[in-house]
């Protein structure tokens, strides 16, 4: 049996999306070309733009296609900073590596960076945020939902707080994990910039979008032609864009239905693990958490070895983010939440998706306990 519980890393492309991509692959004109081949391709791109815009609750003119969530995050933060001389920037301590590393590098480049802390559930401290805002603050970037724990941040509240004090501060949110899992609209949130990525919602990899609120100016990071309103040059990934449009539409149309199922599976998973394995810690306990994400620490064993053993049973899970695989640092997210280092080392993220079934969770609950037991038998920490 194969059980894919790593949907926060990436998701299977749905049949509908695949079909639209295959169709778009044959529409081969360059969207920038004047002739009918170009027009056909342009129509596909513009249709997808409208669909993504509708999903986010904005106008098509406010959507820029990029090569993924990482590029969207960079374009938002660095692209905005290119238009201002302000030198103070704010983020949270639990951002995805994209935003996290942008701020680390900007710090080296001379910006003053404030990283807002989180409580033990991973929720950012709005009061701290309010205190840190100054006239010199250029941008606040705080994610909508965390990739490791599923914690949902109160972005709407954050925007209100920021804008009521300093209307000109730009607020960006990385909504890569929130799209299709959480109901939201850019209007309600009030953000200026918002990043999304197709491959997290059963769309293709290598395509993302950035919402840029009407009136907000950002500068391109890459020079070239006039594509995407001069903000993002390069011949458009037409097939990827078509797939994204389709995936976005489906993702929000089925959101309640899918979340109901996932919520039940999540409870079952947590209950089952608690019953069968002792000495664990649930790290996704925030009041508002994505329905698909469960993060659990298995004390005294290390995460990668759990992944590898489960993999032999056909079960795919991960530690934190896919990007940290192969890196040595323990999760900065769990660390910021105050999770004990050993517990952080033994944390596993189970992230379900719309194709996850109850049988799969049963299978996991059958295979996981002996894996943990076996690894604990090898662990020098276990007897202490």
């Amino acid at each position: 049996m194969k059980v894919y519980l790593d949907n926060n890393a990436t998701t299977p492309v749905s049949d509908e999306v695949k079909k639209e991509m295959i169709f778009a692959i044959d529409i081969y004109g360059n969207p920038s070309s004047l002739h009918q081949f170009g027009v056909e391709a342009r129509n596909i791109v513009e249709k997808a733009r409208r669909r993504v815009a509708e999903t986010l609750g904005c106008d098509g003119q406010e959507i820029i296609f990029t090569s993924g969530g990482t590029e969207s995050d960079n374009l938002a933060v660095r692209g905005y900073l290119k238009t201002t001389s302000k030198k103070h920037i704010i983020t949270s301590a639990t951002e995805h590596h994209a935003v996290y590393n942008i701020f680390n590098e900007l710090e080296k480049e001379g910006y003053r960076v404030t990283r807002i802390g989180v409580d033990k559930n991973g929720t950012v401290d709005i009061n701290q945020l309010k205190e840190e805002l100054t006239e010199d603050t250029a941008i606040v970037s705080i994610m909508l939902a965390n990739n490791e724990t599923g914690t949902v941040q109160p972005v709407g509240e954050i925007v209100s707080a920021v804008k009521s004090m300093f209307p000109h501060i730009i607020v960006h949110t990385d909504a890569v994990q929130a799209l299709g899992k959480l109901k939201f609209s850019v209007k309600e949130l009030g953000v200026d910039l918002l990043s999304v990525s197709a491959h997290k919602i059963n769309g293709p990899k290598g395509i993302g979008a950035l919402y840029i609120k009407k009136g907000v100016r950002i500068k391109h990071l890459v020079s070239g032609g006039h594509h995407e309103k001069n903000v993002r040059p390069g011949t458009e990934n037409v097939a990827g864009i078509a797939g994204f449009g389709c995936a976005a539409e489906i993702a929000v149309s089925k959101i309640d239905e899918v979340n109901d199922i996932l919520e039940k599976l999540k409870l079952k998973l947590i209950k089952g693990v608690k019953e069968k394995i002792k000495n664990i810690k649930i790290n996704s306990d925030a009041e508002k958490t994505l329905s698909n994400t469960v993060n659990i620490s298995f004390n005294n064993v290390e995460g990668e070895s759990i992944i590898m053993m489960l993999d032999m049973d056909g079960i795919a899970v991960s530690t934190g983010s896919a990007c940290t695989s192969g890196s040595l640092e323990p999760s900065h997210v769990l660390k910021a939440m105050g999770v004990d280092p050993v517990a952080a080392q033994g944390s596993i993220r189970f992230s379900m998706g719309k194709y996850t079934t109850e049988e799969e969770i049963d299978y996991l609950l059958e295979k996981l306990p002996p894996v943990i037991e076996r690894l604990r038998k090898m662990s020098p920490l276990e007897r202490q």
Binding site: S305, L328, P380, L381
Partner: protein, 135 residues
């Protein structure tokens, strides 16, 4: 990350010599949980200085477990002096290589071995000293 070799996978899946040795002749304890790896290596040495048994307990990734397993296999049957020459590169080679980011695991295994041997030497020296003192 680069792939693990089949030899690494073999040792990870069926690690040899897992456990502790009661009344060991030497123990090496290295690493710390913040870095993500802890290894404990136990050796039993006979009176000809030959390692007759080695066991490990490891908290760590696949490579940490595989190198622990491999190093115990490699030293059993060797004299302490021979075992001391088993380097991290030798362990890595025996495993068919390790991903670059995992090379530190083999270093850890070497260190654990060295510490176990040091521990053994200390103990025998103490014993000798004790004997010497007694005689």
């Amino acid at each position: 990350m680069e792939q693990y070799s089949s030899k690494v996978m073999e040792h990870f899946t069926n690690p040899k010599n897992v456990g502790e040795i009661k009344n060991p002749d030497g123990v090496g304890h290295v690493g710390n949980p913040v870095c993500g790896d802890i290894m404990e290596l136990y050796i039993k040495v006979d009176n000809k200085d030959v390692i007759t048994d080695a066991k490990f307990k490891t908290f760590g990734c696949g490579a940490a477990i595989a190198t622990s397993s491999m190093v115990t296999e490699m030293v059993i049957g060797k004299t302490v002096d021979e075992a001391e020459k088993v380097s991290n590169m030798a362990v890595t080679e025996a495993l068919g290589g390790l991903p670059k980011v995992k090379m530190h695991c083999s270093v850890l295994a070497e260190e654990a071995l060295k510490k176990a041997i040091d521990d053994y030497r200390c103990r025998t020296k103490d014993e000798k000293d004790n004997k010497d003192n007694k005689s």
